[in-house]
């Protein structure tokens, strides 16, 4: 058994990295005519749009995330406690859902503009109104739902900062604003950069929003090349370019996290210096926290609710039930699969502690940064190749056509989910396992317990919470996942996310709201979990 751990772990890591290796290999593939054509025409647009989108989202998430984090961590104003966890709620809102909800509200025929025309007597062309379905609109949508990544990590960093460094800066004549910019912000920078790179990974991975808004970026380009032009090589080459962007982000995130660890080693948990805000300052702080919450969650959720009240009776039929069950089963199966692998890898690391194993696990857990589109293309290409070869081999030797064995099956879909979400599961399991110090195992053994009994008596009860968290978070991520599901799902197989997106793309916004609301409701579960841990993290 002991000797089999390492090879099995290496094999698992290799399996998980297949999509990335396949896509990476396409960088060196000779270019095709389509590729040359793409490069000459749309590629510059993809590049500049993706870059502008990332830049805009970076600015937006930083502004919202850092300011709300600072306010809820260091200032006293009415509603601060409530905001400290409610600011996470937008995390439950997939970007594509908020995108078409706002489109429904703010486009020409929507309630806002209709009301404006009625009130002012203007007609079409008399006034200027910002276009939701634009690059700027996409930046706003993505910023509104992705800022919690920055908020979460920045807030934790502010809270962990040593009280004394801030006090030292005050005694040296640096006021509270000066202390923020010259001490607190630089100290929190690694955490903020880590949060920002997570938000940017999601931005680059987004397909639903940009496709609904008709923007030409990498993800939509991959879809167009694959399905529109039927050119898998050109699509894979596009994917490999996107992968390069993402790898930069991964490197950025990892190095900032490493630095973040050295930055706050203060064990002092005395009270933070608090800025008591009153009067207009308190109102400003309140609004600064309330607006992201309102725009990122309350308003779109209310709109979805209104639509759903109108349409749910028509929408909830046998087909709807089927696709709900599809979604639930798929999400459950994927979360269990990811959990089993995560447990296997985490225990392997704990037992073996070799560098090879650690490197293998790090590779296996980088999938969270890879866009679903890239993973899907990276899976379908080798699977199709395998299918074709098996089929022709069988026909040649046994006069038997096997057709598609792997591609277009639930197996391919589950594989993609595992690649993408294994890291999420692993993180939760590892943090749980980290709390069970090795000396606890030794203590139990010296008290007469065999290793297997220790697993059940000590590990199981201590790991229960982390295991449940791992299942829950992957479950919800799979429920929300769109691009990989769109590419890899079996023929005629639908999920809630796919259905909501299809209905919205057909401009049946109100009809899609029931499915969308169910996804949002599921997404709320891990947010509640997170917010509970935030509420318990620190008194005061």
């Amino acid at each position: 058994m002991g000797r089999l751990w390492q090879p099995t772990i290496l094999l698992t890591a290799l399996m998980i990295s297949i999509p990335m290796l396949v896509i990476g290999a396409f960088v060196f593939q000779p270019s095709t005519g389509n590729w040359e054509h793409l490069r000459a025409t749309v590629l510059p647009d993809y590049l500049s749009n993706s870059a502008l989108l990332a830049l805009g989202v970076a600015v937006g998430t930083l502004l919202i995330g850092v300011s709300t984090a600072w306010l809820t961590a260091m200032c006293r104003f009415p509603g601060r406690k409530l905001f400290s966890w409610m600011l996470l709620l937008p995390l439950a809102m997939p970007a594509y859902i908020i995108a078409y909800t706002y489109t429904g509200m703010f486009d020409f025929a929507g309630p806002v503009q209709s009301w404006l025309r009625e009130w002012s007597g203007w007609t079409y062309g008399d006034y200027w109104f910002p276009e939701v379905r634009s690059l700027g609109g996409a930046i706003v949508m993505l910023s509104l739902v992705l800022y919690p990544y920055v908020y979460l990590l920045a807030r934790a960093a502010f809270l962990e900062q040593s009280v004394s460094v801030l006090e030292v800066s005050r005694t040296l004549g640096c006021g509270s604003w000066c202390s923020f910019f010259r001490v607190a912000l630089p100290l929190a920078r690694p955490a903020i950069v880590a949060g920002l790179s997570l938000a940017l990974m999601e931005t680059l991975a987004d397909y639903g929003t940009v496709s609904y808004f008709g923007l030409g970026v990498f993800t939509t380009g991959i879809f167009r090349t694959w399905f529109g032009m039927g050119d898998s090589v050109a699509a894979a080459k596009l994917a490999s370019l996107l992968l390069a962007f993402v790898l930069v982000l991964i490197a950025l995130e990892r190095s900032s996290r490493r630095r973040a660890r050295y930055h706050h080693i203060s064990g002092q948990y005395t009270r933070l210096p608090e800025h008591r805000l009153s009067g207009s300052k308190a109102v400003l702080a309140f609004m600064a926290c309330f607006m992201p919450l309102l725009l990122g969650f309350l308003l779109p959720a209310a709109q979805l609710g209104v639509w759903a009240l109108d349409t749910w009776q028509e929408m909830v039929d046998a087909a709807f039930i089927t696709l709900t069950i599809n979604s639930l089963l798929l999400a459950f199966a994927a979360s269990l699969l990811a959990l089993v692998l995560a447990l296997f890898l985490a225990y392997g690391k704990r037992i073996l502690k070799t560098r090879t194993v650690e490197a293998a696990i790090r590779i296996a857990s980088s999938g969270y940064a890879i866009p679903g589109t890239v993973i899907a293309v990276g899976i379908i290409i080798p699977f199709a190749w395998l299918d074709n070869n098996i089929d022709s081999f069988m026909r040649e030797h046994f006069d038997l056509s096997t057709g598609l064995l792997l591609s277009g099956t639930l197996f391919a879909l589950l594989f993609a989910y595992t690649v993408r979400f294994l890291a999420v599961s692993l993180q939760s399991v590892e943090s749980g396992l980290g709390k069970i110090r090795p000396a606890m195992d030794d203590a139990a053994r010296s008290l007469g317990y065999r290793p297997k009994e220790i697993l059940f008596r000590i590990h199981l009860p201590l790991m229960r919470a982390s295991v449940l968290t791992a299942i829950l978070i992957v479950f919800v991520d799979v429920m929300k996942e769109l691009p990989a599901t769109l590419i890899l799902r079996p023929f005629n197989f639908n999920t809630l996310a796919v259905r909501a997106f299809e209905l919205a793309s057909d401009e049946r916004l109100a009809d899609s709201s029931t499915a969308a609301l169910m996804i949002v409701a599921a997404g709320l579960l891990p947010v509640i979990l997170l917010s509970r841990s935030i509420a318990h993290s620190r008194k005061g």
């Binding site: 110090r437 000396a439 606890m440 030794d442 203590a443 053994r445 010296s446 008290l447 007469g448």
Partner: protein, 353 residues
Amino acid sequence: MSVKLDIQAIDLSYDKQTVVQDFSMQLQENHIGCLLGPSGCGKTTVLRTIAGFERPEKGVIVIDGQAVSDHQRHLPPEQRHIGMVFQDFSLFPNMSVADNIRFGLRRWPRSEQQQRVSELLKLIGLSDRAKTYPHQLSGGQQQRVALARAMAPRPALLLLDEPFSSLDADLREQLAREVRDILREENISAILVTHDQHEAFAMADEICVMHEGRIQQQDSAYNLYHRPANRFVADFIGEGVLIPGQVANGKVQTELGDIEGQVPEHCKNGCKVDVLVRPDDIIHDDNAPDSAMVTDRAFRGSEFLYTLRMSSGLELLCLVPSHHNHEIGERIGIRLDFDHLVVFPQNSSLAEG
């Protein structure tokens, strides 16, 4: 009195790096032994080997006359009937104090479990905290629970791995004495690992000083201080300086005068040696012919530890009752008062005699 633990010449290495080499020791029934040494000397490895977490490459470990580790068998830790207290206590955070103590008693009848747990709770003075959880206890209380948990199944031998290192300094010695009294009351043989000689002195009947995986000296605290077997032990235990001297007619001639005492047999006349001078070997005496200048002083409450320099440049340490308050730069009279002559041939290495 019988032998509780007998370790015969064990070797152990990690990744081809030798950690423990040719290590032997014996522990008598109801004695408390101590492995004392600087960090990285292999003392914790020896302890883990006794517990069965590590397997020696060579040598034999015998507990109560039964070989638990030798070249062919290696009894797993859960079958050795050994209690262990860990440096970080490693209490199970999901169990109450009583359940932690009960953990090793699962094969006992219910009523006896109950009785043993309450008996131990009383012994460690935590009877009213049975239902609390580890994180609600102070460090000292957690330490005592860890001790009670390890002692509960009446182990053949109790191992304590730096049990006081995570506690406040002023708590350590007091707790060390408390633990010693508890072990005595329960008639338990134990081995303590520590790098703190005061802890070792407070608890142990006999002490093994270790350095670089090897045993340097196994002896009582008194003998380690006054009769160190080699330079390492002389340096590691207590304070003192080595001054040069020469053997002549069974005496050692030094700058401070001739010193009588046992000279090593292989040291003939004219042999150059270093003499260990402890701070308590030098007496402050205003009438003494020799004097030295105070170059540094440390106030220790009832005493001063003065660092002195002779006119030849020789440095000495001197312990003086603290009503003799001398300033730095002052010259004070000193004389030698030797009980034990400890000499090492010059140019001998740390571990040689």
